[in-house]
């Protein structure tokens, strides 16, 4: 078993969804339930392989790549099929492997208009492969390919199954992300050429840069290209404008996947690629990244307070929450990066959950306009309580997962990496702390106006408004359980991420600035 996992484990995990796609293609469109079972089987098959690897993962050695494969791929451009899992990618992989099957279960009776379950589920599976591949890639070219693969399914998911403004949102999402990744590719190639490396291997490139005869200006420019690629994906202020549109217009499943996993591709890129390879340039950029992060926190929060649409409000809250993640990363300390990884997982679970609820509310009320909603606790008490728990988690209540993403990130900015201005980051810290107050304001306000009170007259006798259904329980329960469990046992994640995070922190410290 160990041998199989070592050689084929990651490959099987990443490409099993595509096998599912191939099988589904062969089945005619009208066999809808078979399509659903095939899609679910493919994603669960992938998850089973993933869980086996998590089981066999050597947690004492989470700083090294495990189950690593390094096989020749396109030799002429020295791109290799190099994959592996370490403590940094493991939590995000686990998140992806969990969320996609849940989304598929939720889709069981929630295929959005205009239907066509076959195409919809195929897109989710393609997305699955793209996301998993990005988290395991150790080669920049391979990373780029997987990073881009997720564009296509998301574009179609928003464009075909989205809301009224779907065409605008889809093209905006696509062009923004493509712009970033085009510059990112130029950066990757420039890095490859200036280091004179023989491969695109991330560790190899980092070693070449560390040997150090590359001018700081070049490093800063290359980092800038990567910053565009990853920063737009996160998204950081001022590149965030695609996000509210994409989130609001996407179907529920698309919003959940966007929030839970896709945004993390950007932050993961920072801690996996940009900072470890170019720590010196990262020090130059960190004050600016921190600045944009806290602007994002405040701007996102203020944006939330101005929203009249529940889904759009949650989308803006994503901008704010990813701001905390980026602030943690900007400190360039192991503490901050640990917080960032935790924040990614927590945000994935919590915001994913919020989008699930928003989707179900929309299905019942046919609107997400906050002022028309109300009394969810009376009409659908269980769903109302779940909304309550999730908003509490989202505003960072201790004891739930959200706390461990935000609080350590704020704490980390008290003492940023050597070479960064303490004063500046302490200012950021204060601003970020104010952001948590605003977060409490908009989330409680949301909860109050949708869940409390009495149902508005137009919905009071609406037979379509009912409480949870079975697939919703099945899809949501694991996420809720994890939100609580991680809130009490944050060490589940911190123990895994600590070694790789401190390796990044050490790389920055080693510069001795």
């Amino acid at each position: 078993m160990q041998e199989f996992l070592d050689t084929w484990g990651i490959t099987a995990m990443v490409f099993l969804p595509l096998v599912g796609v191939a099988l589904m293609m062969a089945v005619p469109q009208k066999e809808e339930s078979l399509q659903r079972w095939l899609a679910l089987a493919a994603s669960i098959g992938s998850a089973v392989v993933g869980v086996l690897m998590l089981w066999n993962f050597d947690y004492d050695d989470s700083g090294t790549m495990q189950f690593a494969v390094d096989h020749r791929w396109i030799e002429v451009i020295t791109a290799r099929y190099a994959v592996g899992i370490d403590g940094m990618s493991l939590p995000l992989l686990a998140l992806t492997l969990l969320v996609v099957p849940l989304v598929l279960i939720y889709s069981w009776n929630h295929i959005p208009a205009p239907g066509n379950a076959k195409a919809f589920l195929i897109l989710i599976l393609v997305l699955h492969t793209g996301m998993l591949g990005t988290f395991v890639a150790r080669d920049l070219v391979l990373f780029f390919v997987f990073f881009e693969v997720v564009l296509l399914p998301m574009y179609f998911m928003i464009g075909v199954w989205g809301g009224e403004q779907r065409l605008y949102a889809a093209i905006k999402f696509f062009l923004y992300t493509l712009f970033g990744s085009a510059l990112m590719l130029v950066s990757f190639l420039a890095l490859f050429r200036v280091t004179g490396s023989e491969t695109f291997n991330i560790v190899g490139l980092a070693e070449r840069v560390a040997e150090g005869d590359i001018s700081l200006t070049t490093q800063v420019l290359i980092f800038g290209g990567m910053f565009m690629g990853f920063g737009i994906k996160v998204p950081m202020f001022p590149f965030h404008t695609w996000l509210p549109d994409a989130h609001t217009q996407a179907p529920t499943q698309g919003s959940v996947l966007l929030a839970a996993v896709l945004l993390k591709l950007g932050t993961y890129g920072f801690i996996r690629i940009a900072i470890p390879i170019l720590p010196e340039a990262a020090l130059e950029w960190a004050p600016w990244i921190g600045l944009l992060a806290v602007i994002g926190i405040i701007y996102g929060a203020l944006g939330c307070l101005a929203q009249t649409d529940m889904k759009r409000l949650i989308a803006f809250s994503s901008v704010a929450h990813m701001g905390y993640v980026m602030l943690g990363i900007a400190t360039l300390t192991d503490f901050g990066i640990n917080a960032a990884i935790f924040g990614m997982v927590a945000h994935g679970l919590i915001t994913g959950m919020l989008f699930f609820i928003a989707g179900s509310v929309k299905e019942r009320y046919h609107t997400l306009e906050i002022k028309r909603l109300g009394g969810l606790l009376i009409q659908a008490p269980r769903m109302g309580w779940i909304l309550g728990i999730t908003t509490m988690a989202s505003l960072g209540l201790p004891g739930l997962a959200g706390f461990w993403g935000e609080f350590p990130a704020i704490l980390a900015s008290y003492d940023p990496a050597p070479g960064l201005s303490d004063t500046l980051f302490r200012v950021y810290m204060v601003v970020a702390a104010i952001g948590t107050v605003l977060a409490a304001a908009y989330l409680l306000w949301l909860l109050q106006r949708t869940a409390f009170g009495t149902p508005s007259e137009e919905f009071v006798d609406d037979p379509e408004v009912h409480d949870m259904v079975f697939t919703e329980w099945l899809a949501w329960a694991p996420m809720l359980v994890l939100i609580v469990v991680l809130g009490f046992l944050p060490s589940l994640i911190f123990d895994v991420t600590n070694t790789p995070a401190s390796m990044v922190g050490d790389a920055v410290n080693a510069l001795g600035r």
Partner: protein
């Protein structure tokens, strides 16, 4: 008439040639001909003649076999291309004192042109048979043009490059005006012919100066003799280089010499448009690459800035105008101009690593051929039902032709450069070549290209938007019947497009590290 226009130049070159040959050799000795190396050209030539004779004898009775016969000819010619491939490591085979070279570079391109020719025949089959055209002659002209392309891949001599270029172009002038009752087609043919002839004149003028400077028409000799003047390049060589490159810039429709392309593309029969946009343009590129990398290899100080400006202009202007197009063929024409800009870009930095530049351009040509021919195939398929070239006519395609829509989507995303479709690898190789020299100019051009690829995404996705998200313009959702020839063409192009994006197939083919610069 063109011939009188160039009379003086042709005359002087021929006279010069005669003078050198008579001076060097007292009596004429027939050079040894490597028949095997020359076989692909001979097969296309012989088969084309045979098909013509069959047509003359059979007339109406044999007409319907013409496309298949022509196609078979191209496939037959593939056999020697395959047998020549690095046989016993005896490549490159040098013929005619270095004027004609068969190496891996030439063979990959010969394969590309033969297969493109084959796909074009598949695209034309129903189009020609169903329109009221002279169809047999059309295929004979295609064969003649492909023959020119085959010659172009191996030509390492100014005269043979020029002859190859004319052999590619002259049949295309005729074919562009093939829909003779349509004014637009007449316009297409006339414009193309006039601009083409004009470009040939400029090219020949430039070539005559290069010949004058070097005293030989072989590129290898020209390359060496220009090396001597590397410090102070004489104005004579500057003008010769400039005119030669501008002549090719017309042929590959580089901005600002592109104005003929959209009108010609729109008016010409669509299969011929595909031929012009892919095969004919590629032939122009092959000539340009060969001349620059072999003949002008020592004067990058003239060529590189020129190519930089041409490439940056071509990709930017092509993309910006493509944004505004409402006709899908015109859109593809302008997008093809933009793509030519990407292909040209590596020539702006060729002095540091000529072989990488050559590889990246050929990689681009191969992948571009597959995805663009595929896109044109879909246009032809869709127009069979809609009878329209407007982008709006693609509305609702997903509902009545899901398979075609998916393949078109593959081509569009490949053209945009999104993995896992082949286009990303083509762009990657171009960026790779641009950044390799680590110069600010190269990286700057790469950044311009990457921003352009975002602009391009908008209009490619616009087509996808109509296919997937919009209703059919006239609410006609009756399914379309796709002829088997077109299905086959779509299958071939889509498979090549996808495979080339995920496997090392194309880069392995275009790895010419062993190519020697052709010497006598």
């Amino acid at each position: 008439m063109p011939s009188t226009l160039w009379g003086a130049d042709v005359g002087s070159i021929v006279a010069g040639l005669l003078a050198t040959t008579t001076a060097d050799t007292a009596e004429f000795v027939r050079p040894a001909i490597d028949w095997h190396a020359f076989a692909p050209e001979l097969i296309v030539l012989g088969w084309g003649a045979l098909v013509t004779v069959i047509d003359i004898i059979g007339l109406e009775r044999t007409r319907r076999f013409m496309p298949s016969l022509t196609g078979i000819g191209f496939l037959l010619a593939m056999i020697p291309v395959l047998t020549l491939w690095d046989l016993d490591g005896d490549l490159p085979r040098v013929l005619f004192d270095g004027a004609y070279v068969v190496d891996n570079y030439a063979l990959v391109l010969k394969g590309l042109f033969l297969l493109s020719g084959y796909v074009i025949v598949l695209l034309s089959t129903n189009y020609m048979a169903e329109g009221d055209y002279h169809d047999s002659e059309f295929y004979q002209l295609i064969a003649a043009s492909v023959l020119g392309m085959l010659v172009m891949t191996s030509a390492r001599d100014l005269v043979s490059i020029f002859i190859a270029l004319e052999l590619v172009s002259i049949p295309a002038y005729l074919m562009a005006a093939w829909r003779k009752r349509d004014l637009k087609s007449n316009e297409a043919g006339l414009k193309y012919m006039l601009m083409g002839v004009f470009a040939s004149g400029i090219l020949l003028y430039g070539m005559s100066m290069l010949y004058g400077a070097a005293g030989d028409t072989r590129l290898s000799v020209i390359g060496e003799s220009l090396a001597g003047d590397a410090d102070g390049v004489s104005p004579f060589i500057v003008i010769g280089t400039l005119f030669t490159i501008i002549g090719f810039a017309f042929k590959v429709s580089a901005v600002p010499f592109h104005t003929w392309a959209p009108d010609t593309y729109e008016g010409a029969p669509t299969p011929l448009t595909a031929f012009l946009a892919v095969a004919s343009k590629a032939a122009g590129f092959v000539g340009l690459v060969t001349i620059v990398l072999d003949g002008l290899r020592e004067v990058p100080s003239i060529v590189e800035p020129l190519m930089w400006i041409l490439a940056a202009l071509t990709m930017t202007v092509g993309n910006l105008i493509a944004l505004r197009q409402t006709n899908v063929v015109r859109m593809l024409a302008y997008s093809g101009i933009a793509q030519a800009g990407y292909m040209m870009a590596p020539l702006a930095v060729y002095s540091t690593s000529p072989e990488l530049v050559r590889e990246s351009i050929v990689t681009y040509l191969v992948i571009y051929a597959a995805m663009n021919l595929g896109a044109f195939a879909v246009v032809i398929v869709a127009a069979r039902k809609t009878r329209s070239g407007e982008i709006e006519s693609f509305g609702g395609l997903f509902r009545y032709a899901p398979g075609v829509t998916v393949t078109m989507t593959v081509f569009l995303f490949s053209l945009t450069g999104i993995p896992p479709m082949g286009g990303w690898l083509a762009k990657f190789q171009v960026f790779n070549a641009l950044i390799e020299g680590r110069t600010g100019w190269g990286v700057g051009l790469a950044v311009i290209a990457s921003i352009n690829s975002v602009v391009a995404a908008f209009y490619y996705l616009n087509v996808a938007k109509f296919m997937w998200f919009m209703p059919a313009p006239d609410d006609d959702y009756s399914p379309i019947r796709v002829p088997s020839a077109l299905i086959f063409a779509l299958g071939v192009t889509v498979i090549v497009t996808v495979i080339s994006g995920v496997s090392p197939l194309v880069p392995d083919l275009t790895d010419f590290t062993e190519v020697a610069t052709a010497g006598p």
